[in-house]
Amino acid sequence: MFTPAIHPQRAPWSHWRLVENFGHSIRVPAQVFQPATVEQLADLFARARRENVAIALRGSGRSYGDAAMRQGHWVLDLRRMNRILAWDPKTGEITVEPGVTIEQLWRYVLPDGWWPAVVPGTMRPTMGGCVAMNVHGKNNWHAGTFGEHVTRLRVLTPAGDEYELTPDDPRFHTFVGGLGVLGVATSITLRLKRVASGNLDVHAWAVPDLAHMLADLDTYKDRYEYIVGWVDSTAMGWARGRGQIHAANHVPEGEELYPERTLSPDYQVLPDVFFGFVPKAWMWRFMRPFMTNWGVRLVNSAKYWASRWLSHHKTYRQALVAFNFLLDYIPNWERAYRGRGLIQYQIFVPRDEALRVFNEVLRYTQQRGMPSYLAVVKRHRADAFLLSHGVDGYSLALDFPVWPGKERDLVAMLHELDRLVLDAGGRFYFAKDATLTPDTAAAFLGEQALRTFFELKATWDPEDRLQTDLYRRVFAPLRSRLAA
């Protein structure tokens, strides 16, 4: 018998969205919810339990891989939990909700003469994301990771329990960098850095090859608080690894006549126009034609020779925002990538092995015809966090375009490079990762760390409610293997 079955028109699908990584190369459907309060969050956990769905936590979605998504299940976008809960301009201690972004934070504290102690290359990420991924910045050698400046955390677990974590609690070092699958940091207390000015004194110079690049980063790491190297990832032969180093220090106290002027958010602006005529909103379209192997070679060479001939050993004063948030200069820069967007591959290699490994990585990617389009080198130190990417050495971050039909070749090439990194005692970083295999992760993290991690996971999230696609890809198989 025919009965007209009426489906509510939009209702069953109203929360479904396509959730993407930073580079638009991974796009999956998920039901997205945006809780604004801890109560709404707890309600969603309870509802997820009833419906037996998995949950991934998400902030601004600036992870390069699959760390902030769970395909076909729920994604909790925490950006509405963005209140600043307490601020003491005398001690520089601030307590925030997880959805507060780095931008919101610096705009709030800078006029009082404070700056986040550690910031990544973009100001879009949320505090929750920075804690879950334990991010780092261009001052990693001096300041360590984001988590080293967190003094207190309040955590809500999927089971509905609340915990207060401080750095003397061993669970603190598991939770920070714990990929956001152990619970939600509903309140995060940070210690900020005192600054006397909104400016940095920057020194830029060109380096002719990788050996000079690594040597200079090492030599000058103690003279500058911030230091970072751009590498021409398409330069071959004797020029391989050539690039430009930017190093900076905060302007010392008393040097600026009117520091309150530079500490004002009005002073901290990024350029509106490029080359004098391209509005920044159009810039990514302008870049698009150059995003091929040859186009990037051309642009990289031009950039290198410009750094060599026009700005070698240039010193200048630059606003904190302009120096730190290079990735925010060009809005939607990641859309300039043609094909299927990009992924990033960042490797951390001990000091004495870095030259050999990085050289080999650059050479191999060029030889395979899949060169990186953007490469950055930084100096790092080890840290005490459980799922740490830190080593006493260097990191090399490589952006790779994802071309349709070439995805398997790219992933296969990165898996080959994984071996090289592992053999050198290197590590990987889950905020960036999109391709790591469970075996590689187990090899660099070690069985003990994994057991500690899974123990806390089993205690705080016994039903395995919090699962990202990263967790499913890398950690879930390891967990069943360890349990067996």
């Binding site: 009965t3 999956v28 459907p29 769905v53 076909g72 995805e407 890809r473």
Partner: protein, 258 residues
């Protein structure tokens, strides 16, 4: 469930309604060969199982997932989509390939036959593809594919309800396309001519020509999905024949007997 590889490598998922035989079965096989995971839907569980086993044997495991149900189980459709999304993590295409063609005599008017054709060919298609549209407009991507027919281009004397059902489906798909293309969703109308399927055998038309295999049709359809085509005829030469037929004036057309 198998271990999840890198999500950078696309593993698209399709639902094929009417996958137990004919174009639907060939399409499921072709998509599996092209790297898709395919959820097979049809009423006959045994036939569906055979198609799935055939795909597994030819292409490999984790490709075909049979889910026996009547395409007209309208209430279950949102549930099926939700299950596929939860289990496979994504849904990239919904292909409606179920169809019925009852042979009718030139002077026969049989409501039971007509209703079944209209229900399976049109009403159930609207039920499946409407929900797909509701989902895909949220996601801003996806392929909606309807297997209509050259029979929908003109109401001939042969089979009024069949012609009407296919004309309805063609128009419904056009409407979906006009709604959804601005939202990034691709809607493909497929108009096969004579395809060597159980339906053709059963229908026993007076004369057939340009007969192609279901595999040929499936290849055309998957190519059209990849290229983002709007309306295809398979084989393509039907386009010109139908253009001609569409322009035969009624004064002549009502005197013809095909």
């Amino acid at each position: 469930m198998a271990e999840q590889g890198s999500l950078v490598i696309p593993q698209p998922v399709a639902i094929v309604v009417g996958a137990s035989s004919g174009i639907g079965a060939a399409l499921a096989r072709e998509l599996a060969v092209q790297g898709w995971r395919v959820i097979l839907i049809a009423r006959r569980a045994d036939a569906l199982q055979r198609v799935a086993e055939d795909i597994t044997r030819r292409v490999g495991p984790d490709r075909a997932f049979p889910r026996p149900m009547d395409a007209r189980a309208y209430d279950q459709i949102p549930q099926v989509y939700q299950e596929v999304l939860r289990e496979h993590g994504r849904l990239d295409a919904v292909i409606y390939s179920a169809g019925v063609l009852h042979p009718v005599a030139p002077d026969e008017y049989n409501f039971a036959k007509d209703r079944e054709m209209l229900e399976v060919n049109l009403v159930a298609a609207v039920a499946w593809l409407g929900q797909a549209a509701a989902l895909f407009q949220q996601l801003g991507q996806g392929h909606i594919v309807g297997i209509s027919s050259v029979a929908g281009d003109r109401g001939r004397v042969a089979n009024p309800a069949y012609h009407a059902s296919k004309a309805g489906l063609t128009t419904y798909l056009e409407s979906l396309r006009n709604r959804l293309s601005r939202r990034g969703v691709h809607v493909l109308t497929v108009k096969p001519g004579f395809v060597r399927t159980p339906m053709l055998e059963q229908a026993q038309p007076k004369r057939v020509f340009w007969v192609i295999s279901p595999e040929q049709a499936a290849r055309d359809i998957v190519n059209a999905m990849r290229k983002g085509k709007q309306v295809i005829y398979t084989p393509a030469r039907w386009r010109w024949l139908m253009l001609l037929i569409q322009h035969i004036p009624s004064v002549l057309f009502r005197r013809l007997s095909f």
